[in-house]
């Protein structure tokens, strides 16, 4: 009788959609770079404390949207060249590339065949400081038919006053999943906190994406405001409906079955 030292973990895929249009130039893009490298460091240090195996893909979007890796990389080993900010904010292209990436052929490949442990519902972060410079409605409608997109906890981070909050909100899993950042120097801390909190909470697989978004937003606000009253303290917080944004699929051994 031999001790089994091989604990099989499901994977958690996190997709970062990072705006690298011209308006992000300077401190904003540097803050994003810092955040990604901090996230890698924290996950690397805490890998053994996780009950999921975190992998990630990064899509940068400006005049075009580009996935950074051929296939998702282990977040503990994530290495990133500094991002360059240039061009416009093509949200339509982002929708198209996200739809392509959020698929069994790309992010959710199961190369290990029958022995694949599968995934928990993914997490998507969308970070942007501007308005879309192209129409995106059609591509977004298509994206909204993507089952991985629908299953994901989707957190959006509008940066500064010029960000199109309403447009970004339409990508979020719930109203609570919109975490605005007003000071450029807070971007790295906020994105790092939100990612780490989400990854740790994602172990709680019973919790709906709305609940996770709400918890993450709450925790990040608490961290960022250092116990001061939250900026939107006078606003009422709607109780998230756990079923409002997650698919209602029947499940069998083969994985997905659409409603």
């Amino acid at each position: 009788m031999k001790i089994n030292n091989y604990y099989i973990l499901k994977r958690l895929a996190t997709l970062f959609a990072l705006d690298n249009s011209g308006s992000m130039n300077g401190d904003k893009i540097l803050q994003v770079d810092t955040s990604i490298s901090t996230i890698q460091k924290v996950i690397h240090e805490k890998t053994n404390e996780l009950n999921v195996q975190p992998v990630c893909q990064i899509i940068t979007f400006s005049s075009e949207a580009t996935p950074m890796f051929d296939s998702p990389v282990d977040m503990a080993d994530l290495k990133l060249d500094p991002l360059t900010a240039y061009g416009r904010t093509n949200v339509g292209d982002l929708c198209e590339v996200m739809d392509k990436e959020l698929s069994s052929a790309r992010m959710f490949r199961t190369d290990d065949g029958d022995d694949s442990p599968g995934f928990v519902a993914p997490v998507i972060f969308i970070l942007s400081d501007g308005h879309s410079t192209q129409s995106y409605e059609e591509q977004k409608r298509l994206l909204e038919t993507n089952k991985w997109y629908n299953a994901a906890t989707r957190i959006v981070i509008p940066i500064g006053d010029d960000a199109d909050v309403e447009m970004l909100k339409s990508f979020a899993s719930s109203d609570d999943a919109v975490i605005p950042v007003n000071n450029v120097e807070d971007i790295a801390e906020l994105l790092t906190d939100a990612t780490i909190s989400t990854i740790f909470m994602k172990e709680k697989t019973h919790i709906s994406s709305a609940q996770i978004s709400s918890d993450v937003a709450h925790k990040v606000k608490e961290e960022m405001t250092d116990n001061e009253e939250p900026i939107d303290a006078d606003g009422s917080t709607e109780t998230p409906d756990p079923d409002d944004n997650s698919g209602k699929w029947e499940y069998d051994d083969s994985g997905w079955i659409n409603p």
Binding site: N4, K46, T205
Partner: protein, 428 residues
Amino acid sequence: MKKFEPGAVLHKQNDAKVVVKALLSDTGATACLYTVSDGGKEKALKWFRPDFCSAEYKRRIARMIADGAPDAAFVWPQELIEDGAGGFGYLMELLPRRYHTLTVIQNDPSLRLKSFRAVCNAALTAARAFAVLSRNGKYFKDISPRNTMIDCDTGTLRIIDTDNISSSTSNKGIDGTPTYIAPEVMAGAPPTKYSDLLAYATLVFEMFFNNHPLHGKRYFKCICLTPEIAVKLYQTDPLFIFDEHNSDNAPMAAQENVVAIWNAMPEHMRRLFRRAFGRTAYANPESRVQLEEWAEHLMALRSELAVCPCCGEENAIEKSVQRCDGCGTTLKFEHRIKLPHYSLPLHKNTTLLKGQVATVKWSEMLRPFAAAVTDKKSHRFGIVNLSGTELTGEALNGKERAVRPLEVVPCIKGIKLKSGARTLIEFI
């Protein structure tokens, strides 16, 4: 949340200073953990996030400190620390570095529980701790690998995050590992001793198999585990991976190690696990396996584990002649002992605990009673009295003689070891 820098000074209630040394962890949902120096002694400080700093919670911690730990396995709050601005935390023992949470042990291949005997030790200690807690009318509510710290070499187990413990059956504030939460609690019922029983059973299974009892094909073949599917897996349709009648959730090929351990388990353990994770146990909380029964079987298994002299692999010995699971060597056990409730082969690693020979209270159950010894000259087996009290040996001719602590009784068929008129061990 404001974090303390190394060197920050806090004050105990008697105004004595506590100096922060380092941040240990800041990923906890309710608190951050620091190492501190308390009068030169290194301790751990659990400092609560503002959301958890209610007066009620503070009173509860203060009451726990006043009451003291119900069992030595619990890492218990020792002293309350406040910052004067509504923030508070408590000091507790800082465990040595050889202790790791079961989560870390599971995920780090360089760490592993050294032996199944160590697993038995850990599982038995946890059973004792939770039994004593339950006797005091309290529940842990959050039994999980994250709250369980183990010394991999010995199986010495400590339970952390003890501030979840209360006699309240409210499920408010439960922030545990959902795969350990009982179906009825997931459905909204308050936690009870029965929900703790299911979490304990899950913990024991994970310690032995390094696998959740419900994580078989159904779990792994699910390409995307959504919250809705999780509800089915853990709440509305839980199916044990070794269910006798339904193989829908059987282990997949990559779980061959789990299957190998299952096949090597003695039949009484397999039956126990099947009961603990059967549909009845999930649906009917009162039918769950009690801690006393877990202890009975774990103590038996602990005595059944014999190390193969050829390859060093542990084997659960049920028969007097058995092949080693590791190298196939035929293992022969000449002697057998009969205990009040069962019999087992005697081997050179056999140790018996008090709970195996008599009905004793939990605090006594895991204390040593006897162990096998070998005479170096004759290579003959005997049993040494480790009970700390004088026992009685009955010879083949019926004559009795005192067996004082550390005295050895020779292993000869028919000889008995007794306490008063009651036979505790008989060589058969």
